[in-house]
């Protein structure tokens, strides 16, 4: 999901110079004591790189995540829904900014991160490579995708890296509005006409599996999270968070009178958990590898937006330079 980067192998692993064992031990002790690591503190090169990659991917996800919702902005069913959706999309842009800012404190520039996104080198959450085919998708995304995001992001508020943790505190507060407005759409549609209820069910059918895949591979297949756990970047395993999400969501679907599209879903009396059927990981890998329904569209839309906005950025820079020059002349004359 938004922590997708933590499930991937670090491409530069093993290429670092050996770290100073004294500094490394002091660093780990600080992490173990739950003290925050701040931008100018010493940190292992691999910690810095892992966070740069993770936070940048998280930021890219927020930015690309505006597209599936933007699809319905001009076709919202009412002015109220349109205003709410616009506010939500603005939040996503804001979240992207908080995250880019946090990543920049690790010594990577905003422009470098953006270039990595535009060239396809950097990833974003694969959930946004699915299309939003009916209005109820706006409800299902808020309820499930943002709900899953909250599950994932609340532990990140205690991440060992201070700027990331602080950005997450802000994001989580705002994300709660996203989930509730999504559920509000689902409630209205599920209690509406049979056609509206069918749309809500259709949205749930398509969003359910991608949402629970957002938590990443099963713990047994996720070999790269151990270090992130030790560094307290990641606090809970993929399966733990996924289970919490499913347990929280099943009763919510029940309240709506909608059916979760998993015939094997069953309640385990002993553990108190709702156990899901097998997850189609081939599908997950296919989308991750760039072959989802919208991978190409998402990236090309972003590239187009940046290219077409170039003259605006140039004009702003030219204006700023002119104002600064005028002010300098005035000072000289005075």
């Amino acid at each position: 999901m938004y922590t997708q980067a933590l499930n991937e192998k670090d491409p530069n692993a093993g290429k670092d110079k050996a770290e100073d064992p004294v500094l490394e031990a002091r660093f780990q002790a600080r992490v173990d004591e739950e003290m925050r690591i701040e931008p100018n503190d010493w940190m292992p090169a691999a910690y810095r790189r892992t966070l740069q990659r993770q936070i940048a991917q998280h930021a890219h996800s927020e930015v690309i995540g505006m597209q599936p919702e933007g699809n319905w902005l001009t076709r919202s069913p009412s002015l109220k829904r349109k205003a709410i959706l616009l506010a939500k999309i603005q939040d996503e842009a804001g979240h992207g900014l908080y995250l880019y800012s946090a990543a920049e404190t690790l010594g990577i520039s905003r422009e470098e991160m953006e270039s990595q996104l535009l060239s396809g080198k950097a990833r974003y959450s694969s959930i946004f490579n699915y299309p939003t085919l009916n209005w109820a998708d706006m409800g299902a995304i808020g309820w499930l995708v943002d709900g899953a995001a909250i599950m994932n992001q609340i532990p990140l508020c205690r991440c060992s890296y201070g700027p990331y943790a602080r950005a997450m505190v802000r994001v989580c507060k705002e994300e709660s509005f996203h989930q509730r407005q999504g559920y509000d759409i689902m409630m209205q549609m599920a209690k509406g006409t049979p056609e509206q209820k069918a749309m809500a069910q259709d949205a749930l059918n398509r969003t359910w599996w991608p949402s629970i895949m957002m938590f990443g591979p099963h713990d047994s297949d996720s070999s790269h999270s151990e270090q992130s756990m030790a560094w307290k970047i990641k606090r809970f395993s993929n399966d733990d968070l996924r289970q919490r999400f499913i347990n929280a969501t099943v009763p919510q679907a029940e309240y709506l009178g909608l059916t979760i599209p998993d015939p094997d879903l069953k309640f385990n009396e002993e553990t108190g958990n709702w156990e899901s059927g097998p997850i189609d990981w081939d599908e997950f890998k296919r989308v991750l590898a760039g072959n989802g329904p919208c991978n190409h569209q998402r990236l090309s839309t972003r590239q187009k937006a940046v290219a077409e906005g170039e003259w605006v950025r140039d004009a702003a820079a030219a204006h700023a330079a002119k104002v600064a020059a005028r002010a300098a002349n005035k000072e000289e004359a005075a």
Partner: protein
Amino acid sequence: MNLKNTPLWEVFIRSKNGLSHVHAGSLHAVDADMALQNARDVYTRRAEGISLWVVPSNAIKASDPVDRGEFFEPTASKVYRHPTFYDIPDEVGHM
């Protein structure tokens, strides 16, 4: 694509209750006016404040974490600066 670097600014917000401006985050903008407008758009979407400051990030001089121990040592050793250092008998009442 050629992405030009724009300057980084730090954003400080004063909330309605009249406390000091508090650091809220950072952003990129070509000049101070744009930084202020962007800060309004991004950091005060939910009535977070009634006053904003923007400061060029490179204008900030920060203390060095390597010297942290030495730099802040004088405050650690002067416990008598805290009111709790002094024992006032209960008979005296609240002080």
